[in-house]
């Protein structure tokens, strides 16, 4: 019982829960999406560069 009320107190943030948690949620979204977007772009560029290199090799071979 007391553990549950401690947790709910923590989540309430003395009545500012909605403000505090929405701020933290936004921060999480920004941090995760920055990492994700940078990785995805890098992977795309690597695939593109590899493809280009292969085409160049084939051209040289033929």
């Amino acid at each position: 019982m007391s553990e549950v009320s401690t947790l709910s107190n923590f989540l309430r943030m003395s009545g500012y829960g909605a403000y505090v948690w929405s701020s933290y949620a936004l921060a999480l979204v920004v941090l995760v999406s920055n990492l994700w977007a940078a990785r995805r772009r890098l992977r795309e560029e690597i695939v593109r560069t590899r493809r280009r290199a292969q085409v160049q090799q084939q051209e040289r071979a033929s």
């Binding site: 923590f10 403000y19 701020s23 936004l26 990785r39 772009r41 890098l42 560029e45 593109r48 560069t49």
Partner: protein, 245 residues
């Protein structure tokens, strides 16, 4: 020294260095943020005036300081690129912009959420808030300007000028709360001799700032590599290092 400088400026070397350094930035960043969050959300006592609402500071302030620090990195790299004509410096500057923009937006959003219960308004045309909004527009303007050129070299030079001129806004944001009578609270950390914040509230904040900084470095590593790939498409070293990896 000069040899080292040249090596660092060479795209193949920088590409591999960024690849190797990334985990050394990312994992310490995540650990620092996790400890900082625990300290900020659980261990730090509630503020005597703002109660638990003050805890927004642990994401708002690090994000705000990042929005300025990243701009300084971007403008310095742009200046190096223009003065010494180093392509890699332009690549780093270009890689900084989207990360900085996201932090400026996060600063404004979390500040707005904090302002609502504390000041009773989401937005006020206050010096700090207005100058931070300009900071966001500088990032967006820089990115838009880059995107408007087809020729990467012209994009580099034009956007570098904007980045260098725009740096005047950084001290304006930084000292706006000191120079003008702002609604925003004055800085409580940077008075190094005597920070007006208690230790139990301060150390999680410092860990978060450090964590955000390392996190930025980790994301920058990936973005710089993308920029190098985009610029060096036809270079032979690229084909070799990518087909063997």
């Amino acid at each position: 020294m000069w040899l080292w400088f040249h090596k660092l400026g060479s795209p193949p070397h920088a590409y591999r260095l960024a690849e190797r350094l990334r985990p050394w930035f990312l994992w310490p960043a995540l650990v620092l943020m996790a400890v900082g969050l625990y300290g900020g959300l659980v261990l730090a006592p509630p503020d005597y005036q703002q109660k638990d609402a003050f805890r927004i500071i642990y994401v708002h302030a690090p994000s705000g300081s990042m929005s300025l620090m990243i701009y300084v990195v971007m403008a310095v790299c742009a200046a190096i690129g223009v003065i010494w004509r180093i392509k890699l410096a332009h690549a780093v500057a270009a890689a900084c912009a989207p990360i900085g923009a996201s932090f400026a937006a996060l600063t404004l959003a979390t500040g707005s959420i904090w302002g609502k219960p504390m000041w009773g308004t989401w937005w006020e045309w206050d010096p700090r808030l207005t100058s931070e909004l300009i900071q966001l527009f500088l990032y967006l303007g820089y990115m838009a300007l880059r995107a408007s050129f087809d020729d990467p070299q012209r994009a580099d030079r034009a956007s570098a000028i904007l980045a260098i001129v725009g740096i005047v806004n950084v001290p304006i944001v930084r000292y706006s709360v000191v120079w003008w009578n702002s609604l925003h609270q004055a800085p409580s950390v940077s008075k190094l001799a005597a920070p007006s914040i208690s230790g139990s509230m301060l150390w999680p904040l410092l860990l978060m700032v450090l964590g955000f900084g390392l996190y930025f470095a980790a994301v920058l590593c990936d973005r710089v590599r993308s920029e190098i790939l985009r610029r060096e498409r036809n270079a032979s070293w690229l084909a070799e290092s990518l087909t063997h990896a």
